[in-house]
Symmetry: C2
Subunit: 424 residues, 2 copies
């Protein structure tokens, strides 16, 4: 596979074309952020905005000569035939976003892979292996509550039936939304043939590469993630007349969970990479003069080590149980998502590092704090990821998310070289 004679002419990645595609896609679902006045991206999975983005990128896939298929969970995959009928080399990411997203998260991996195909086309490259690039449904999990939904089905971790039955907070189901937006495909949502390899390009969404002065990152793996949904049931009561000692205040209990999770993550007891976030709280009845009777909150816990994460989850459960009896509330806890730590292929990591060296890019090994579609593929084939540095302390899931055109170009250039080597 490393026969450099098969590479054909030297590839030229067109950074302007890449940037134009990124900025065009960022117009789809664009909104003006309340807090900052900046333009952000709101392309929640399977909404009208997501559908519009899907149609746009599918058209670009077709214009690049790819044969496009949509599978039963709505993943869209474009195939470039190989000279031989071998297992395909795959790349891709997602185009759905959180409601307060930016232009790069996911989109860079999809449009970067598209730029690789375009550069192969420009250079008249034929590859021995087929190449498949794609975007996968609801990677963010921000709408239907389970991240990596599309790639999780594809890799066999989540059953198709379970995924299709998931509902958003209004009870609207994945299956119905796929049908509504015209992306309920007929292609099987499985990797019938395991890919030869999967490489995903993504923005770091963290501050480490910028801090280290690195041009690119070679990702060693992905943190284990566990999401919990807690429902706290207390008793609604009058804010003026109910003595403090007689209250069963769901919001007080929720606040204690928030501070406990934060203190746990910053204690050092679970390592320096422990993360804990309460991102969602829904109160009922949510009125100024009523002690809340019910709170729903989510807890997002992450750690690079599966066992350490389990220990943190256990500590949270123990605390919640004590808290319930202390405050006289009932707390139910449900795991809504769990993905184990992923460890990427050593050989592919070395291959990526070699290409970065050959291009003169400073690089660094990094562990991903965010989940990515690549982690689903890691159980099925050799998998790796390239990270492009994120500006502004690595801010992401925010309209201020930004990577420079040069950084994006560097990532795509290394992706193109690695894909050429692996596909030839």
């Amino acid at each position: 596979m490393r026969d450099s004679r098969r590479r054909g002419p030297d590839l030229r990645v067109d950074k302007e074309r890449l940037w134009k595609s990124l900025m065009s896609l960022a117009q789809v679902g664009a909104y003006t952020d309340q807090a900052t006045g900046l333009r952000g991206v709101n392309r929640l999975a399977l909404t009208d905005a997501d559908a519009q983005g899907r149609r746009l990128v599918s058209r670009w896939f077709e214009e690049a000569g790819l044969e496009v298929r949509v599978d039963q969970i709505g993943n869209v995959i474009g195939r470039r035939a190989g000279v031989e009928d071998l297992a395909p080399l795959m790349s891709g990411s997602h185009i759905d976003s959180v409601p307060t997203g930016g232009a790069f998260d996911g989109a860079l991996g999809v449009l970067g892979a598209l730029e690789v195909v375009r550069s192969f086309n420009d250079a008249g490259v034929e590859t021995r292996r087929p190449i498949e690039i794609g975007f996968f449904t609801d990677e963010e999990g921000a709408r239907f509550g389970t991240d990596m939904l599309g790639s999780g089905v594809l890799a066999g971790r989540i059953s198709l039936a379970e995924a299709l039955a998931k509902g958003d907070r209004d009870g609207v189901r994945v299956a119905d939304e796929l049908a509504r937006i015209g992306f309920a495909g007929s292609s099987p949502a499985t990797l019938e043939q395991a890919p030869a390899a999967f490489i995903e390009l993504h923005v770091e969404q963290g501050p480490l590469l910028m801090a280290a002065g690195a041009d690119l990152g070679v990702v060693t793996g992905v943190q284990a993630i566990a999401w919990r949904e807690l429902v706290i049931t207390g008793k609604s009561a009058h804010a003026g007349t109910t003595p403090m000692s007689l209250r069963r205040d769901a919001m007080l209990a929720a606040s204690r969970v928030v501070t406990f999770a934060h203190d746990m993550a910053t204690s050092g007891r679970y390592g320096e990479h422990m993360r804990a976030t309460v991102g969602r709280v829904d109160l009922y009845p949510n009125r100024v003069n009523i002690v809340p009777s019910r709170a729903l909150l989510t807890v997002d816990l992450r750690n690079p080590d599966d066992l350490v994460l389990r220990a943190a989850e256990g500590a949270l459960e123990a605390y919640v149980s004590e808290l319930a009896s202390e405050l006289g509330v009932v707390i139910t806890s449900r795991v809504t998502a769990r993905t184990g730590a992923a460890h990427f292929d050593g050989g592919l990591q070395r291959l990526l590092a070699r290409h970065m060296d050959e291009c003169g890019y400073r690089h660094q090994r990094v562990l991903s704090g965010a989940g990515h579609d690549a982690q689903e593929f890691a159980s099925r084939c050799p998998t790796a990821m390239i990270f492009v540095p994120s500006m502004y302390d690595g801010i992401s899931h925010n309209p201020r998310e930004y990577s420079t055109i040069e950084a994006c170009e560097a990532g795509v250039r290394v992706l193109a070289r690695a894909m050429l080597e692996l596909a030839c």
Copy 2:
């Protein structure tokens, strides 16, 4: 005024008629509580349900021979002419509810006053003074953010223009909703002539009377209340990649405010009657995997002493300011409602106690932890309140709110005797 010869025949309060009215009104806006399966009342001010309740009670007023007027803030007042053209004796309360209300809060005071009029009619009583009974707009403040809105305008504390311009959380204005439901009246929303007295009957909404084994309460006054709306602005960020130390988490800050307010109220430093409630929290963007950038929360503080309440408010402000710099967030704080402590008329309190004694009811002096329309009248005329015990630890603002038919009858009986004495 205490000339007992003018009382006419002994009054007979019809407890079954009273109860039937209470239960009929409770059907308007009835809903089934998620948590308990009980039937509750959701009659938020100026909604369709409130309008339906207003029309029902107005019809009952008319059927009782009252001349009904609607003023410019939507207060509905029924007048029973007196023999002489004197300042009227007034009674009344409210029929709007919190979204999770019960059958008694407010309704007992309105329908109890109506039962007094009905009993006067039955007994052929003519009074020297006119009697006016009414219900006042958005006493709860649960929709438009300011409690005692209607009676506050009537008493001159809130300007009519300010009240009409208030919006709910969707930006819908009081003026538009009054017009929409047909209760934008033309009668001036002022007490052109100060009433001779105002007496309000209400359920206690607290546990004290039941605990003391009292049949009724003579209310000495109402706690001072201050409502604040805090807006915490942090920075949205990715839940996986953003190190804990780089976060500016609006939810963490909100949680600290909740626990501070609770600890302050239970510290004893502000007396045994100090109350603090965070009843509403709205997070943005409110997603599982995003560190929240913005939290809006309300803080409801109450104390019987205006100065002690001010001290508690000062302590909260100081804490919020420290917290903002500790967590790197911006916190703005706005007072959305403030009512000073009300002290009811000593003579009227003695008059009520005497009638309770004459009827053989055990009674107790109590301070109200909840705000009531009567506190607005206290600045304009001699004012008093009768409390009827609440069952179940005094639970209110909850479908389990309950007072027995005998307790309601006792309250109305004393109200009728007191009104007869004062009006004759």
